[in-house]
């Protein structure tokens, strides 16, 4: 128990690597300490229309247990720009791995002059066929450039006190297989955390070379929630390369 608490606290103080789209194993392979992920994405959102973008993440395995990472994202037309750092502690449990992730994320929604800093703590359980993420986020957003006449009586920011993080993925082949195909359902994506809006989709990865994998996902993101009868909101496609060196 002390080990787990320590790992959580320590992972907060270290920076980390993101909730990557790549669905292969996150564990250190014992040879390659550096991991680079690069993703192109495109899609349609009912509020912002069509968008295209890219994201990149660099991960450094400090030891067999500890890793840190940093990432960025640009979504053109949606005008969303993101930065994140994450620290991870891996706890092997039998043939599975339990990761404790501490993450700091900053989103800039430039279209609406809103900054959104987020702290997320989550546990990620990775088995051969299934992965599960549970955690909590502290999400704050604040408006930039508030009119001077408002400043005396208005707030310009809002903090969502508790935003639960939930994600579940399954694959048709073992995680170590050179290729894989699976389904996922979750209430977050690589660069956002939602309260209720559950997105789902199909993901894959395929080995191009021993140190390089192609991966991607098709993501359907409805709006509304169960009791409010979900509606089409955003559909996106991501394709990326996972490179270890």
């Amino acid at each position: 128990m002390r080990k787990i608490v320590f790992a959580l606290l320590a992972s907060l103080s270290v920076s980390v690597a993101g909730a990557q789209t790549y669905s292969g194993s996150r564990a250190y392979d014992g040879v390659h300490r550096n991991v680079i992920d690069g993703t192109f994405l495109g899609g349609f959102n009912v509020v912002t229309g069509w968008f295209v973008g890219e994201s990149g993440t660099y991960t450094r395995h400090l030891t067999g247990r500890w890793s840190v990472s940093a990432g960025e994202q640009v979504q053109l037309f949606k005008q969303l720009y993101s930065l994140d750092v994450m620290g991870t502690y891996r706890l092997p449990i039998g043939r599975t791995n339990l990761y404790f992730d501490g993450r700091l994320l900053f989103n800039r929604y430039d279209r609406w002059n809103v900054n959104e800093p987020i702290v997320n703590l989550s546990a990620f359980w990775e088995t051969s066929y299934v992965d599960l993420r549970l955690g909590e986020s502290l999400v704050r957003y604040h408006k930039i450039g508030v009119k001077e006449e408002y400043r005396s009586y208005t707030t310009t920011g809002y903090t969502e006190p508790l935003v639960m993080t939930f994600g579940l993925g399954v694959h048709i082949r073992p995680r170590s297989n050179p290729w894989n195909l699976g389904l996922f359902i979750r209430n977050f994506d690589q660069f956002y955390y939602e309260n209720w809006n559950i997105n789902w989709g199909v993901r894959f990865h395929a080995s191009l070379k021993p140190e390089m994998k192609l991966y991607g996902e098709f993501n359907v993101r409805p709006a509304g929630s169960i009791s409010q009868l979900a509606t089409r909101y955003e559909t996106s496609l991501k394709v990326g390369l996972h490179y270890v060196l």
């Binding site: 009912v46 959104e116 707030t155 389904l183 309260n195 209720w196 409805p222 979900a230 089409r232």
Partner: protein, 340 residues
């Protein structure tokens, strides 16, 4: 898990997902009603176009007040709803706004609601109009030498609701729209001031029953149909009030959070600022919340439903619009036991 078991389980999972996608569980969402927000907004737009000549205006002489209530969830007992309408009538409110989840979906509850509104309209007409012949009425406060005459059906009972998520489940929209017709609409309040000047206040009713506005509603908003700007870009409105079922802010950490997505939340907050909204009223979470964000006042109202709030309490809000444009609000106490 054995290899054979895996081979069965995973294709089965895909098959189940595809199968259930066809009916009540859709690939774009979990549960889907008979009518989605896109259909409701399309119907509202059509209704607006077909009734351009019947557009509703409210007329106020200087100061005026209006009453707001939320989440009445009418079942067989409609006492709280009746109390709201009677309070509004007795206290002379210009109009009464309801923030959705007006009834709990079953057809008989909407029959109850319809009867309630018919009775309330009858009392409203009796108080505010004089019958001049078998069919026609004139307003009591009309200052014209030859006051305009109205047929009973032409008299607008000033009760304006937004649609809530309980109003659209199990084909509730068919019942709701049969009474109220439109879920996305606006109303102008024409205010006659003492110096002979005229001011305009603006009421915007959004369809957020699905927890999202949907593409068509967002497109219409982006096209500026609700902006009310003069050619020089200034707003023609003195005050703008927005009514939405779905809340934006969470009253407390243990309450339900808003279901608006990130982008939609920021879009709405920004749009309310562009509309120069004085106050936005929300419901849905059944808990009171008040805050001011970026110059816009947000009131999230507690439910007036007796089943959820059996004790008497301040479940309604009365908004006071002074002739000088200043806006204040006060809680309105409900005690249905006194009426029973």
């Amino acid at each position: 898990m054995s290899c054979k078991m895996r081979k069965i389980t995973l294709p089965t999972l895909f098959a189940v997902l595809l199968a259930v996608s066809c009916n009540k569980v859709s690939p774009i969402g979990v549960l889907v009603a008979g009518t989605a927000v896109e259909d409701r907004v399309a119907m509202s737009e059509l209704f607006y176009r077909n009734h351009l000549n019947d557009r509703v205006f409210l007329i106020a002489d200087g100061d005026y007040t209006f009453l707001v209530g939320a989440d009445s969830h009418i079942t067989n007992d409609s006492a709280r709803m009746d109390e709201m309408l009677e309070t509004g009538l007795n206290d002379g409110d210009l109009f009464y706004a309801h923030l959705g989840d007006i009834a709990d979906t079953k057809a008989e509850y909407y029959v109850t609601l319809d009867s309630l509104l018919q009775e309330a309209k009858s009392r409203y007409v009796e108080k505010n109009y004089t019958r001049v012949n078998t069919y026609e009425y004139v307003r009591n406060d009309s200052q014209e030498d030859t006051p305009a005459r109205y047929l009973y059906d032409e008299i607008v009972y000033p009760f304006f609701p937004v649609v809530g998520n309980h109003d659209i489940t199990r084909n509730g929209w068919a019942l709701w729209s049969n009474i109220f017709h439109s879920s996305f609409y606006e109303i102008d309040v024409i205010v006659f001031l003492e110096d002979g000047e005229i001011a305009f206040d603006h009421l915007i009713f959004l369809d957020s029953a699905s927890g999202t506005l949907g593409k068509r509603q967002i497109d219409l908003i982006n096209q500026g149909i609700l902006d009310g700007k003069y050619d020089d870009g200034t707003s023609q409105y003195r005050n703008t009030f927005v009514f939405s079922h779905t809340n934006i802010f969470r009253p407390q950490f243990f309450e339900f959070a808003s279901t608006f997505t990130r982008e939609e939340t920021f879009f709405l907050l920004d749009q309310f600022e562009k509309w120069n909204v004085t106050c936005a009223f929300c419901g849905h979470v059944h808990t009171w919340d008040e805050r001011n964000y970026n110059g816009v006042h947000y009131l999230t109202l507690d439910t007036m439903c007796e089943k959820n709030n059996p004790e008497p309490g301040d479940y309604l809000v009365r908004v006071h619009c002074d002739a000088d444009g200043e806006v204040k609000w006060s809680p309105v106490h409900m005690d249905t036991r006194k009426r029973k």
